[in-house]
Symmetry: C2
Subunit: 461 residues, 2 copies
């Protein structure tokens, strides 16, 4: 794979410390290579549990261990913090920056697993009013907004305003949206039930919206119905076939078969779509690969780019036979890439030919979503589970994939308290996001105000 001398170790660069990147790096532990893992953040993030940080069940630390400490004992791995700005597949370099400092890292093999971000389908101005859930900051921002809405409702004396403050809209009825809507309902109806004096949090309306005609599209009809029934038992209103056409500070506009209507809601959460990291398009432009509408790269059967068998794209950024953007696809893709690299490095060292590459084969271990405490839906092979059994399976699987024994124990305790008891241990609200938003809004206002006079001056000349 490498055209340099035998003396130099094969250099692998991995972009992204999510499931794909972390598992690729770990799978190279016993291989004679140098691995550099590059990520913008210092932590591995268990994204499927972010909604529990947003709703006060877990702390961010429990689902975001420091990547460096996870990989501390893997001597052939180093971690580089920085946002990747450029991949050059001709020069075989990755350019990243951290606090204004630019680093160029050379590679022999590259595993790109930079994930996806929230997509507003071209309506990026929705983001301010309906944050998504992709980072720790997103989750803490949402935690502040959800609890802040109850606080504002407590001191409001206007019934219409109070109703608006107590209406929570989750856009997108995939697994994340379903889990989020369920947890807000349980937060309002169980945890906070007796905590206020002028409002009853049980009056809160939680609306789960989707343009699709069903909740949980990846599941079969039986599980969808079970999920919808459980959500409705929790008090969640499900509105399907409803497309969001506008979002502002006070609510959103929705178009369904009866035309356009307005929902007044202070707190909106967006989980309707994802777009692959822009690195996907960058790679496609350089290699002639295609991308799909979500910006995911259509990869070869061995998850590489056309004509670049040393560049792998895995996880949420890649499209291969339409595999879904779930943790297992990223984990298996990352491990697959690592195994190919390891086999070829070994062959090269022994002076043998490169072994033939078997195409990537995804093993579907099933999919699941927690709906409420004691209720989940799970599909494992042909088995379809609902209720308590599915929920216990959900707990078990998620505990297994949390990194670190201490985080597992802490999470198990947090869950015991939240699900058997009714309190939640992590409702502390940070304020920096409010500071940031206020400052950014003032900046925007300034830039808008400056734009006008300059234009005016120009035309006056």
């Amino acid at each position: 794979m490498s055209d340099t001398s035998l003396a130099r170790r094969h250099r692998v660069v991995v972009i992204g410390s999510g499931f794909g990147g972390l598992f690729a790096t770990k799978a190279l532990k016993r291989t004679d290579v140098d691995v550099t893992l590059i990520d913008r953040t210092t932590h591995h993030l268990f994204q499927p549990l972010l909604y529990q940080v947003a709703t006060g069940i877990l702390s961010e630390g429990e689902i975001a261990p420091a990547t460096r400490l996870v990989l501390e004992d893997q001597q052939n791995a180093s971690v580089l913090i920085g946002g990747v700005e450029k991949i050059d597949v001709a020069d075989r370099t990755v350019t990243s920056t951290h606090r204004g400092r630019t680093t160029v890292t050379e590679y022999d093999s590259l595993v790109v697993s930079a994930g996806a971000r929230q997509s507003y389908f071209g309506n990026d101005h929705f983001a301010e009013h309906a944050p998504g859930m992709k980072t720790i900051d997103d989750a803490l921002e949402l935690r502040g907004r959800i609890l802040g809405a109850f606080e504002s409702a407590e001191v409001s004396t206007d019934p219409a305003e109070r109703a608006r403050l107590l209406t929570f809209v989750v856009v997108g009825a995939g697994p994340t949206g379903v889990e989020m809507a369920g947890e807000i309902a349980q937060l309002a109806h169980r945890t906070l039930a007796g905590a206020y004096r002028t409002i009853d949090p049980r009056d809160a309306r939680i609306i789960l919206l989707d343009a699709a005609p069903t909740v949980l599209p990846p599941f079969d009809d039986k599980l969808r119905r079970a999920a919808a029934d459980t959500l409705e038992d929790l008090g969640v209103e499900i509105q399907l076939g409803a497309m969001v056409t506008d979002v502002d500070d006070d609510g959103l506009t929705v178009r369904d078969q009866d035309g356009e209507r307005r929902i007044e809601a202070a707190c909106k959460i967006w989980s309707a779509g994802v777009a692959a990291s822009p690195l996907g398009r960058q790679l496609a432009e350089q290699t002639g690969a295609d991308t799909d509408r979500a910006g995911r790269v259509l990869v070869e059967p061995d998850l590489t780019l056309p004509g670049h068998s040393n560049v792998f794209v895995v996880g949420d950024m890649m499209n291969r036979d339409g595999l879904p953007g779930v943790a297992q696809v990223a984990i298996q893709g990352g491990r697959y890439a690592a195994q190919l690299i390891a086999a070829e490095v070994r062959a090269h060292r022994k002076g043998r030919d490169k072994p033939e590459r078997a195409p990537f084969r995804y093993t579907d271990k099933g999919s699941m979503a927690m709906i409420s405490r004691f209720h989940a839906v799970a599909k494992v092979g042909r088995l379809q589970l609902t209720g308590l059994l599915a929920w216990l399976l959900w707990l078990l699987i998620h505990l297994v994939y949390i990194v670190g024994f201490k985080s597992r124990l802490a999470t198990a305790i947090s869950w015991t308290w939240s699900f058997l008891g009714r309190t939640r241990g992590h409702l502390a609200v940070t304020e920096q996001q409010v500071v940031a938003r206020t400052a950014i809004n003032r900046l925007d206002a300034w830039e808008d105000s400056r734009a006008v006079p300059e234009a005016a001056t120009a035309s006056a000349r």
Copy 2:
């Protein structure tokens, strides 16, 4: 105490959900009064453990339970979120605002326990470069700065810059400063020891600075020496008699007996002084009470304001015989105020005269500071403890005062991991503070740039 009819319940307003305010509120649980607890934040904060959030040992949730849930079962208490802007002792009202909404709350008795903030002794511009440690956001900001310095050092190739990035200066050698310096040393030398590839975190310099001639001024000489010895064993450099005269992004300027000198340090932490909440001066102006240099109100023997026996000031905001700003003074002051109010409400209801007020008497339960794992110093009455025994006592006392059994259990587990093991469970870094700071800096730059031309225009006329 109240001049209204017997039918209306006596209204108590408590300002501040820290130790003073929370314990005052809880002590009124069985009294026939209505209590309104007003605070800017939604949580009670165990401030003495904030340094452990900053250094990744604890999550913010473990030391900051939602005040509402703590008081949920106390039916006579309600929580109002808002920053108090005005107290009017003549009208007996408290004016607070939350997200632009103003609330005026009337009281018959008032307990003011709004605490203290960091003081830079008139040099407020130090704050940007050397944050203090008073809120959760402060602690998360410091966590980001401390870990960020190691990350930047890892990619720096300039030895001078690397040394600057690996120098941590804690200003102020009181208990908070001592504990913080000790924890940064242990983070660098134990937790992160093997986590980097181009730097050795054990090379980090941790400097503990104070203008005073000793560490831990509240303790006796034997304990001070034990603390200093333990810190030096950890690798902390103690520089006493050193006054900070300037702080900027790259370091600080210090004046000591040898003149002025410069310390290059990327990460500075300020724990040198506190100033009482500005509500103290507001109350003093209205009542003719005196304030000390830190803005604390000199109160009457019953912790009230002169001529206003229904307004109590407790905790870090009050000065009575120079009592220190520690949790026990706030707790005992809050409870004392609550007991007086309760006794007088009972007497009033029974048609009796107000009972005589016995002056507030502080019971010194001792003071302690953790220096490192297995080492603390503690003064309990005449007993002076150091080492392991003091450390175990420290753990026990702090666990007792953490609110909620679940938080206690989680904290105990976090401590076991951090002190017996060497990892830390809460090193996840948020980014909003960076966003906020960047936006605020741009705003400041804009305001500065705008100020100049306007002045120029004015003088040109």
